[in-house]
């Protein structure tokens, strides 16, 4: 049997009214790849993401997640939404948030089951948050909250983890810790990060997908000034992250 790609996009076109957002996009993402989807604001990243999540339908072409329509395939997908989209003071604990990832697996009526709680606590442990399971969301730091939300994405045992701007609210140190965690998770699953921030790309990611109306795929080693300039224009400050700096 031919292996099924976690993400397979063929000849995709998408426009809002007369404004084309994605044109003739093709993309195959391989199992256990660590992918970064980058591109300028308005370049079509969010649209691509919504197509992958099954929240938008392609107008032309196909989008397949594990060989299925995204509405079906998304059950193998763990998703971390943008940080700013959620209420940081919502009255729930870290454990309550992670339990939400068991919806669709647990029973439909009544409270969560004991095995949901066990799975949620295991996942909090995996992201290094076991001690803070009973802590209210409002009492967690930005980095801790991201870990809780990653645990929520993981608790359904996904084969693909999709993260939308996971580090936009975090300082450099916490950002690096989070990428270390993602690298660890990448041993077991495909990881796709959507971001406009390309500063860290070289040190962690294997594949870079550039989205600016068109979709181009590069191995990380190929991403140089020329590619970035062609995508973002001339005025980009590049920051090199050397490996030593990670330990500093």
């Amino acid at each position: 049997m031919k292996p099924v790609h976690p993400i397979q996009i063929e000849n995709l076109n998408f426009s809002y009214g007369h404004i084309p957002v994605l044109e003739q996009a093709n993309l195959s993402i391989f199992d256990k790849d660590f992918v970064c989807i980058v591109g300028p604001n308005g370049g079509g990243k969010t649209t691509l993401l919504k197509l992958l999540l099954g929240l938008l339908k392609p107008q032309e072409g196909t989008v397949l997640v594990f060989g299925e329509d995204p509405e079906v395939g998304r059950k193998w997908m763990g998703y971390l939404p943008q940080y700013a989209s959620l209420d940081a003071k919502f009255p729930v604990t870290a454990l309550d948030v992670v339990l939400m990832g068991r919806l669709g697996i647990t029973r439909g009526i009544g409270p969560y089951r004991k095995r949901d709680r066990t799975a949620a606590l295991d996942m909090l442990d995996r992201v290094g948050m076991a001690q803070l399971a009973k802590r209210p969301l409002a009492a967690l730091s930005g980095g801790q909250r991201q870990r809780v939300l990653i645990a929520r994405a993981l608790v359904s045992n996904p084969k693909l983890l999709l993260l939308d701007e996971p580090t936009s609210s975090l300082d450099d140190y916490v950002e690096r810790e989070l990428y270390d965690l993602l690298q660890e998770l990448n041993k077991d699953m495909t990881v796709v990060v959507v971001t406009h921030d390309i500063s860290f790309v070289s040190s962690y990611v294997e594949t870079v997908v550039c989205v600016n109306r068109q979709v181009h795929v590069h191995p990380t080693s190929e991403v140089d000034e020329n590619i970035i300039h062609s995508m973002y224009g001339e005025h980009v400050h590049m920051v090199r992250h050397d490996q030593e700096q990670q330990h500093g």
Binding site: Y79, L86, D87, F90, P91, M100, L103, G104, G110, P136
Partner: protein
């Protein structure tokens, strides 16, 4: 105060008022917590004002066309549910600004009520009790309806609490997990509509939003989970409606307005306290 408790033993209308307030408090605490955390206070206000349309229409049909069964409480129930579904549908379908859409329904609901009431003979006192409530006019039949609605709301909230919380916190994520998020959004709006109707009979259309949201908002300052927040909000609602009723009795003040002032003052005091 002592006079109130003495009167309570003698007068069944006071017993009905007290019981009505206590029953409504249960739904108020549960649904108020969802409304406050999902930030649909303004939507709930819109639903409340549409209720006048239903009450006015029902009263008109009763008086002018002799539809005896169609009492204003039934009209309120239908109008509230219809308003919730229409506003919710417009929210999902049309890309209009939500607050503008709600304002349109808010005003039109009231206008429909006023038009029907103005064409109903002897309308003056009806209008006042719809707008400002009259807890002392609660009948045993009202109590049965309030108890029935209460039971329904509590049962739904218990059975689907986890979905409702997930939809309040992150609707998109809930949908991705295979939850029918739109269904639960509409269910939440329907529960809000039913609770609004319960509370309208206590404090009236104009002030209902205070009783729906402030006890939950006060509770939110002291609780870090939805369950305890609901319990505390229900307790506060029961305590404050009872106290308001008792305080209003001796000086013969309107009960609804007294309750609202009490809730508002407690809310304002707690906002000055430090968040824990």
């Amino acid at each position: 105060m002592a006079e109130f408790f003495q009167a309570l033993l003698q007068h069944t209308f006071l017993q009905h008022a007290l019981l009505g307030g206590l029953l409504a408090s249960l739904a108020c605490g549960i649904v108020g917590t969802y409304v406050v955390t999902r930030r649909i206070t303004y939507l709930a206000g819109g639903i409340a004002h549409c209720v006048l349309g239903g009450m006015g229409f029902a009263r008109y049909m009763q008086v002018v066309h002799g539809w005896a069964f169609f009492d204003p409480l039934l009209g309120a129930l239908l109008a509230a549910l219809a308003a919730a579904f229409i506003i919710g549908w417009v929210n999902i379908r049309a890309k209009e600004r939500m607050d503008t859409v709600i304002s349109a329904f808010w005003g039109m609901g009231m206008a429909i009520g006023i038009l029907f009431i103005s064409k109903t003979p002897g309308y003056g006192e009806d209008m006042m009790s719809y707008l400002f409530g009259n807890i002392l006019l609660i009948t045993p039949r009202d109590l049965t309806i309030i108890a029935g609605l209460d039971l329904f709301i509590v049962a739904i909230a218990l059975l689907f609490h986890k979905q409702l919380v997930a939809v309040c916190y992150d609707e998109e994520f809930a949908r991705l997990r295979g939850i029918k998020a739109s269904f639960f959004y509409f269910l939440l709006l329907a529960l809000t509509a039913l609770t609004v109707v319960l509370l309208v009979s206590i404090v009236g259309i104009v002030m209902v939003i205070v009783l729906l949201t402030l006890p939950a908002a006060i509770a939110g300052r002291f609780c870090q989970r939805m369950g305890p927040m609901m319990a505390l909000a229900a307790g506060l609602c029961a305590l404050l409606t009872t106290s308001g009723l008792a305080l209003s009795y001796t000086p013969d003040l309107p009960a609804g307005a007294t309750i609202i002032m009490l809730v508002g003052i407690v809310y304002l005091i707690t906002t000055t306290l430090k968040r824990n």
